[in-house]
């Protein structure tokens, strides 16, 4: 019997014949925390009584969620994390370097690895065929100490992609469509595995967007195969030697198969307060927005800023609308400067925020006021997510966000393309 990607990686890392439903203990290749989950993980690590990290060179602390810090308590949490990094000899990415998941993709993730992060969007790096999944602080503390964790091997859904995206439709629209189809818990405990000839059109930037949001359907991991696109990305990031092809077996067993014709997709949007509350943008055209936020681990990459810049070039945002843009990393910001995207965005009226999580989770840099509506390229629109339970969050692609910034209301990006 053949194996899925999830079964293959977990078999290799547990040195067992891992099959869906089994419980295995597996080696972890990379472990990270961020500034809102790290302090608890560190306190638990110390409580465990271990003296050293199992893998200091593959342990990373990211200061990205509250960056730069908006208040004294979070500043003190940053001090705690910096001291830990110094004392135990792990990596630390300072304020302004970018979002943990983007930096893991740029600098660390490799096909076939197991990656654990104290953040639910750790799934992002399934784009590189890594079994990347989020856990809480206790599990991370134990992985820091032991370099291992336990897993229930997930059953997998196969997502078969055909065709190419039509004009105005992007990876974000695909994953919103899928989450709408599967439901917010339809893939709870499952792996989603992406395949089909359509994959050859799905760039690494797109794969990161798609894998990032599988957790919004409940999934434990979202895996892409390791193919030519993976090889080219690793080469471009200076990790050519980490490439290995990785595909599921042809006879692998899938619990469910979902086929998507990319050519039939439309610009999509999630309505408040649930990610699976999806509709076509055309159905809610004209709803007034007060804030537009382009960025996050979902859609803060160079290709996202390029699309936004192409729509906003020579145009202005609607007066009174706040257009906030946060590149996902220093590399993204630097390349966007070189390409001239930042100039276009600033001239269109955008406020450029430092690389990091920015307005996504309600800590700072764009907290909503009572009754305000934000169109965001992030991954969550739960009540209270952007710092105010009386705020409303709509989720969409950077193209839809840019078009809506011009009109000051929800707008189909094809109107400006």
């Amino acid at each position: 019997m053949g194996k899925t990607l999830a079964e293959k990686i977990l078999s290799s890392k547990s040195r067992n014949d891992a099959r869906a439903g089994d419980i295995v203990i597996a080696d972890v290749d990379l472990i990270f925390v961020q500034d809102t989950t790290g302090p608890l993980a560190i306190r638990q690590f110390k409580e465990l009584g271990f003296q050293s990290l199992a893998k200091p060179r593959r342990t990373i602390i990211f200061l990205d969620h509250a960056a730069p810090s908006p208040g004294q308590q979070l500043s003190n949490d940053h001090i705690l994390l910096r001291r830990f990094a110094q004392e135990y000899g792990c990596h630390i990415y300072e304020v302004g370097e970018g979002i943990c998941h983007q930096l893991v993709a740029e600098d660390f993730a490799n096909p076939g690895e197991i990656i654990l992060g104290a953040d639910s969007h750790t799934v992002t790096n399934g784009a590189l065929a890594a079994f990347a999944t989020g856990m809480g602080s206790s599990d991370i503390a134990v992985a820091l100490a032991l370099g291992k964790t336990w897993f229930r091997v997930p059953e997998s859904f196969l997502i078969l992609l055909h065709g190419t995206f039509p004009r105005g439709v992007f990876a974000k629209d695909l994953i919103l469509h899928l989450i709408g189809e599967i439901g917010a818990e339809g893939a709870n405990y499952k792996a989603l595995e992406f395949a089909g000839e359509g994959l050859s059109q799905i760039t690494m930037s797109d794969r990161l967007t798609i894998a990032n949001m599988v957790v919004e359907a409940g999934a434990k991991v979202g895996l892409f195969p390791s193919d030519d696109i993976t090889r080219d990305f690793l080469r471009q990031q200076g990790r050519a030697r980490s490439y290995q092809p990785l595909f599921p077996d042809k006879e692998a067993n899938y619990e469910r198969i979902i086929s998507v014709d990319l050519g039939q997709l439309k610009p999509m949007l999630s309505l408040p307060h649930a990610v699976d509350n999806t509709v076509a943008v055309s159905e809610v055209k004209g709803v007034k927005v007060q804030q537009i936020f382009i960025g996050t681990c979902t859609n803060g990459r160079l290709e996202d800023l390029a699309v936004a810049a192409s729509i906003l070039k020579g145009r202005k945002k609607k007066p009174g609308v706040r257009l906030l843009i946060a590149p996902a990393s220093r590399q993204v910001l630097s390349q966007a400067l070189q390409q001239g995207y930042i100039k276009v965005l600033v001239e269109a009226g955008a406020t450029i925020l430092p690389p990091g999580c920015a307005a996504c989770l309600g800590l700072h840099q764009g907290v909503l006021g009572d009754g305000e509506l934000c169109l965001s390229t992030a991954n969550r629109n739960f009540k209270g997510r952007m710092g105010n339970p009386r705020g409303m969050i709509y989720l969409a692609s950077p193209a839809t966000a840019a078009a809506s910034a011009i009109a000051g209301e929800i707008t189909d990006p094809r109107d400006f393309m």
Partner: protein, 176 residues
């Protein structure tokens, strides 16, 4: 050690209670001040939640049990969510279904989570949760609910009162 049976009053919640409902990001500055953070648990979703738990605990010897609908705890990996639920005085969670990361986090904090059909449990019902045989007896309606069995490793972590105690005892993970 976690007690095998927990008798308490139900506090009933609806479906899709996210970690942003349980402990919103706007309180992230309190994550190193857990007693203060726990004052805000579920305050947007259930106004007066902490006071309600407190008043239930004051009536004769019973515990408080959180009863939820589908997909409880969806969203973030913040372990502060089950941690502050436990700190508020909740002794167990009974839900229709629970999001994956929240489930693991609750167990790791020694907070029992049982999955069963909660639709007929009413707010204030007197429940007896039995972790040994995986049942929930509703003493108010005289109904007995059967829950999903927990894998042995999950039961073992729960028995030790959480993952940190489990690892301190075993120095690693033990599979049968």
């Amino acid at each position: 050690m976690t007690k095998l049976t927990i008798k308490g009053r139900a506090i009933k919640l609806g479906d899709d209670i996210s970690t942003d409902d349980i402990i919103p990001g706007r309180f992230a500055h309190l994550r190193s001040n857990l007693p203060e953070l726990a004052q805000h648990v579920l305050e947007d979703a259930v106004p007066g939640f902490t006071a309600k738990v407190k008043s239930l605990l004051q009536e004769g010897g019973n515990k408080a049990i959180l009863v939820a609908g589908r997909n409880f705890g969806l969203g973030s990996s913040r372990e502060h969510a089950p941690l502050v639920i436990k700190m508020s005085g909740i002794s167990a969670i009974v839900a229709q279904s629970v999001a994956r990361i929240f489930f693991r986090n609750a167990i790791n904090q020694g907070l029992p989570v049982l999955l069963c059909d909660t639709s007929d449990i009413g707010d204030g019902d007197l429940l007896e949760v039995n972790l040994g045989d995986g049942t929930v007896a509703n003493l108010t309606s005289n109904l007995r609910l059967h829950c999903n069995r927990l894998p042995p490793i999950v039961s073992a972590i729960l028995e030790e009162g959480g993952l940190v105690s489990y690892i301190r005892k075993h120095k690693g993970f033990v599979l049968d």
